[in-house]
Symmetry: C2
Subunit: 211 residues, 2 copies
DNA sequence: CGTAACCTACCGATCTACAGGTAGGCGAGT
DNA sequence: ACTCGCCTACCTGTAGATCGGTAGGTTACG
């Protein structure tokens, strides 16, 4: 019966770590603060994760689990699923904040999350390219290819997250993301006719309440 | 002759601070490390900037100076100037890294740079909207308005910076940015004909050397 | 049954390292 | 003489990590 008890506790700690990192970043997050949240002392926490970095690794693995839902899963995403993902994210500022903070820190020298993000983005770009090519074939507006549009799609998601985190009232993240998709779906008169791009657009309210 | 000597030293310190922040972020940057770089002790540095936060403020002001070149300057930018800006940035990874790291940290609670970035992005979005509307009028591909495209343009710039910092060989930031502009300039068959969008495209090499 | 051996889950004390900041002083230029 | 530029000395706080221990729970076995 003691079996799995430890794993459970670890998961609890990881959850707390996510919170603390969201609030203070990785460098600013102290083991003591995390420990306190689960009713442990700092030393008690170190019993489960021998170093601070080990805890971070667990946090990153946790993300891989629910975000890419199983890593490089073979089932391909579709653009409308990404729309849902953005909407989902918009309801979980905490999670978004955690990983935006980590992303920001990771560009720093010798940051323990750097390799993780580098590899992750390479993989995300590939996924995005697959999604785009499944949706549009090889021809996108402006003469772009899926491979060239992939970094843009990725960039928009991340960039919007920062703007949204800084001022949620000024940026309607899901709406803005849909706007970007509209850009991709817009039939391009100069190139060729949109391959299989439909034009079934949803009724859209404006995405700029503030400012 | 001692006049201005102090200001000069301060500028030197701010430059060093930019470097250190790029390497370790704001939280990870120690006054001692900055001081060492200009041949001072930590306390010597505190003579010029009484607190760490004061130094950060100076760093942020410095950015406002050369990036928006004088703050909310009346002279409007144009899209091709932003293209140049991105190219310019691509040659200065240090600066980009500094402010990407700060941006990432700033979404954290009680971060001293948070207000700065919040206000800054509101202003940038406005500028972007102005630029877009000067370039395209009120009609963009996909039925977007300048106000709705502005957050996207901003997001793309930031998002690309992160991807590029993490793996400069995998992402050709300037080329990717031009790709996005192409998306904006692509004549939209569904909407109206592109307002004043020319279609003079530059010869473009592909922007994905790695992966 | 009982007890020795061992493991898990922690906590208290303590070490080392910086970190930011204060107080006061000293030398040099004006 | 006085201020400016900078340093030495020092204080306080905090962080990650190690060490040693304790309490409770098995398991092995005589």
């Amino acid at each position: 019966m003691a079996r799995g008890r430890s794993e459970e506790r670890k998961a609890e700690i990881v959850r707390a770590a996510l919170e603390v990192i969201a609030e203070r970043g990785y460098r600013g997050a102290s083991l003591g603060a995390v420990a306190e949240r689960v009713g442990l002392t700092q030393q008690g926490l170190l019993h489960y994760f021998p170093t601070k970095e080990a805890l971070l690794v667990a946090v990153l693995e946790e993300r891989d689990r629910w975000d890419t839902s199983g890593g490089r899963d073979r089932e391909r995403w579709r653009l409308d699923l990404m729309e849902s993902l953005v909407e989902y994210n918009a309801m979980r500022p905490g999670i978004v904040q955690t990983f935006s903070a980590l992303l920001g820190e990771s560009v720093t020298e010798d940051h323990p999350a750097r390799a993780f993000f580098t590899e992750r983005y390479a993989q995300v770009r590939e996924n995005m390219a697959d999604v785009l090519s499944a949706e549009f074939g090889e021809t996108l507006p402006g003469g772009l290819t899926p491979e060239r549009a992939a970094p843009l799609l990725t960039a928009v998601m991340d960039g919007l997250q920062f703007q949204w985190l800084l001022d949620p009232d000024a940026v309607d993240m899901p709406a803005a993301f849909r706007d970007f998709l509209r850009l991709l779906r817009a039939p391009d008169a100069a190139g060729r006719g949109g391959a299989l791009a439909d034009s079934g657009q949803d009724g859209e309210r404006n995405g700029r309440p503030g400012a």
